[in-house]
C-alpha cells in the first residue's frame, strides 16, 4: 500500500522569506512523486514531479522539490515566497512498481495550507 504524510496543517511564512512544505511517503516499489496546488474553489494544478534522475526537480512558479530516498521525503521549497503563493498544497505518490508498472491511482496527502503574510 502507498501512503503520504504531510505533517503540517498550515505553514505561515512572511513574503520574501524561503518556504518549505514537508512531505514523506511510503511505497513498496519505485516512488513517483508529485506536488499539486489548489486555489479556492478550483481544481488541482500540477506543480512538479519526480520520476527518476536528478533529486532536485524544478517546477512551476519558482517551486522546487528535493527527493530524498533515505528519508523517504519530497519537501516542496521556494527561495522567496509571494503572497500569491497562498493556497492548499498536496503531495501525492504513485507506486511505480519494481520495474515501472505499478499503480495508476495517485495517493494524496491531506494537504497543507500555505499562508504568505505581506
Amino acid at each position: 500500500a502507498q501512503s503520504v504524510a504531510q505533517p503540517e496543517d498550515q505553514v505561515n511564512v512572511a513574503e520574501g522569506n524561503p518556504l518549505t512544505v514537508k512531505c514523506t511517503y511510503s511505497v513498496s516499489g519505485n516512488p513517483y512523486l508529485f506536488w499539486y496546488v489548489q486555489y479556492p474553489n478550483r481544481g488541482l494544478q500540477f506543480l512538479l514531479k519526480y520520476i527518476t534522475g536528478d533529486n532536485l526537480v524544478k517546477g512551476s512558479y519558482g517551486f522546487e522539490a528535493e527527493f530524498n530516498k533515505s528519508q523517504t521525503s519530497f519537501h516542496l521549497k521556494k527561495p522567496s515566497a509571494l503572497v500569491s503563493d497562498s493556497a492548499l498544497y498536496f503531495c501525492a505518490v504513485r507506486d511505480g512498481g519494481a520495474s515501472g508498472g505499478g499503480a495508476d491511482g495517485l495517493t494524496f496527502g491531506k494537504g497543507t495550507h500555505l499562508i504568505i503574510q505581506p
Partner: protein, 115 residues
C-alpha cells in the same frame, strides 16, 4: 490552453437518486480518472480508465459507481443510488502520457450534495 471541463458545477440530489457527473477531458489524452474530495479531507482516487475500460479502481468505487466514455469525448461518472456520504467534490482528470508517470490535468470539480 486546453483544459478539462466538468458539468454540473454543483448538483443537489435526494438520497437514493441516480446522479451522472460529466467530464470532457483534454482531447488528445488517453487516460482518464475520477477523484473525490470530501469537504475538509484529502483527495481520494476512485477509478482510472484507459482504452475504454477500467484499469484500476479503489475500495470506494463499489457497485454503486460506474464510468463510461459514451462518445469519444465525454467521460461520465454515475452513482446509481446516492447516499449521504457521497456528498463531496468530484474531480475528473486526464493525462496524455503514460499513466504512472504523467502529471494529471484536473477539472474544476462537480460539487455533489446529497440530502
Amino acid at each position: 490552453e486546453p483544459e478539462v471541463t466538468q458539468t454540473p458545477s454543483h448538483q443537489v440530489t435526494q438520497m437514493g437518486q441516480e446522479v451522472i457527473l460529466r467530464c470532457v477531458p483534454i482531447s488528445n489524452h488517453l487516460y482518464f480518472y475520477w477523484y473525490r474530495q470530501i469537504l475538509g479531507q484529502k483527495v481520494e482516487f476512485l477509478v482510472s480508465f484507459y482504452n475504454n475500460e477500467i484499469s484500476e479502481k479503489s475500495e470506494i468505487f463499489d457497485d454503486q459507481f460506474s464510468v463510461e466514455r459514451p462518445d469519444g469525448s465525454n467521460f461520465t461518472l454515475k452513482i446509481r443510488s446516492t447516499k449521504l456520504e457521497d456528498s463531496a467534490m468530484y474531480f475528473c482528470a486526464s493525462t496524455g502520457t503514460r499513466a504512472n508517470t504523467g502529471e494529471l490535468f484536473f477539472g474544476e470539480g462537480s460539487r455533489l450534495t446529497v440530502l
